[in-house]
Symmetry: C2
Subunit: 319 residues, 2 copies
Amino acid sequence: MSQPTVSRALRDDPKVSEATKQRVRDAAAALGYSPSAIGRALSVGRSTRVGLVVTDLDNQFYAHVIAPLHHELERLGHELVLITESSDSGPVAEHVVAHGLCGVVLATTTVDSILPARLRDRGVPFVYFNRTAPSVPADSVTVDPEQGVRELLADVIGRGHRRIGAVFGPRNTSTGEQREQVVRAVLDENGIGLAHRDVLHGPFDFRTGHDGMRTLLDRDDPPTLVLCGNDVVALGALNAAKEIGVDVPGDVSIAGFDDLPTSGWALVRLSTVAYDLAEMSREAARLLVGRVGNPGAEPVHAVYPTRYVARDTVGAPRS
Amino acid sequence: MSQPTVSRALRDDPKVSEATKQRVRDAAAALGYSPSAIGRALSVGRSTRVGLVVTDLDNQFYAHVIAPLHHELERLGHELVLITESSDSGPVAEHVVAHGLCGVVLATTTVDSILPARLRDRGVPFVYFNRTAPSVPADSVTVDPEQGVRELLADVIGRGHRRIGAVFGPRNTSTGEQREQVVRAVLDENGIGLAHRDVLHGPFDFRTGHDGMRTLLDRDDPPTLVLCGNDVVALGALNAAKEIGVDVPGDVSIAGFDDLPTSGWALVRLSTVAYDLAEMSREAARLLVGRVGNPGAEPVHAVYPTRYVARDTVGAPRS
DNA sequence: CTGAAAGCGCTTACAG
DNA sequence: CTGAAAGCGCTTACAG
């Protein structure tokens, strides 16, 4: 039995007879043999490993993308390797090709990142996840904030809030920018403006929300409601309010974006904009694996709808 | 310039002259060339990829081990790939060798798992993380619950609790067993027993704590304090109490184990047993990488101390 | 349907 | 200090 035959049999190549396939499989099982993925990778010129590029692995948000992403990749016969992007991002592209990853999902790309261009130049397939860098076209899976934000703001405005503050995400991310734009547009339609001093920006993390909330609440005349760039930020804001004894939503209302599991906790009950993050993660896996098999095709853009989930952190403003 | 010379130069082999090293490095930089890790892996017979084996990637606990583990592995020139262990665990060992991982950290091993034996038989280095399966010796990094539990129970008993309930972790994990034993031993020293009906068991997840708390609280005469197997369980318990309007610690006290960042939130303020989880994760990385380089050495067991962090979920029992 | 040959990109003795 | 040869475990034409 030659090596190529074994190889073909184990890959279920139709050119091998059923009889020998069976023999090979039996022998493999008996010997506990399974083909070396690395031998295969070297031979084929590409592995089945995909990288997830993030900046802060610590962030609760990513736990909720890693789990479904990993699961779907596994289903598709791929492995997940974690990559963190340092400020520079030069090394990342090289790292990816040096380690022979077959593709990567970009989950924390900034608008001005050079990583997408680097990957494109090196011919590494990738998909934008939750963010986009318009300069380099590629598959993407993102969220359309409009519907959810409209519903949220309808609730907010309906309850009488007029003095609205915000702790948005970073300015150099498509996600942060887009959410802010939609909020501004919808408020504008309702004749409500955001005072410059009531609008803060920062990374999508706990501290941003926490410190931002303190800043806003330290004022003599704080906003009656604070819109947060995402749930992790909102969680920071909520905790900051609690720390200084400010009642939510009695004294101030807070809203988030993402609807993480934590936001639904009885202890939290965050009013937020929801979408199907797990499904998005799976779609990213599918898109990427599809792309690897078909590099020439037009980029596809999967966009997920949002809806508002009213819980207990948005109430009427204190009159 | 021959291939071996380039190879040696890039690895900083002392047998290559500084002059050629420099030339090679310059050329590599100019060409954007970096050596293929997969070529190297095939040649050397081992990669620099280590696997983290867990059951539920969703669990908040693992987010806090993945981040430092990844970081330390990166520092040591290794990659992190995620592996989930299905019930069976047969495929895992094969997967690991098929994909040429140089080692794995086992973070959810049960006492009766066959995975350690499988890995040992196939010569794959591994380290037990936070759990241990005594049948197969290997490096381990674990926690010694005793000090923390003593401090916790001193507080609990000092406040007057006598009717104590518990939602411990799974019986088939060393971690769950050990914590339960220490609790029982210390209570015993104080002449306090755990009523059989007040002791529940289950996986270390939110639902276990949540449902366990409901069960305990549904009774006519519930315990005045509930000890939880870990923080995620305690978080479930805390939320269950909140859901049914039971005040913590007014009506019932709750304690955890792990001191996750969430437990310190103003919204949570969980009294819990703390230890250095991030450092443990880094140590696991170091141990494993060290083991790969020196398979013959005696197993080393890193044990981390615990201490009690009193916050707001343990109070006096209602009299 | 099966096998011999060549090659994927490295590294490791072995010469020189 | 440098290079030619062989091999790591696969796959892919190419014959038969």
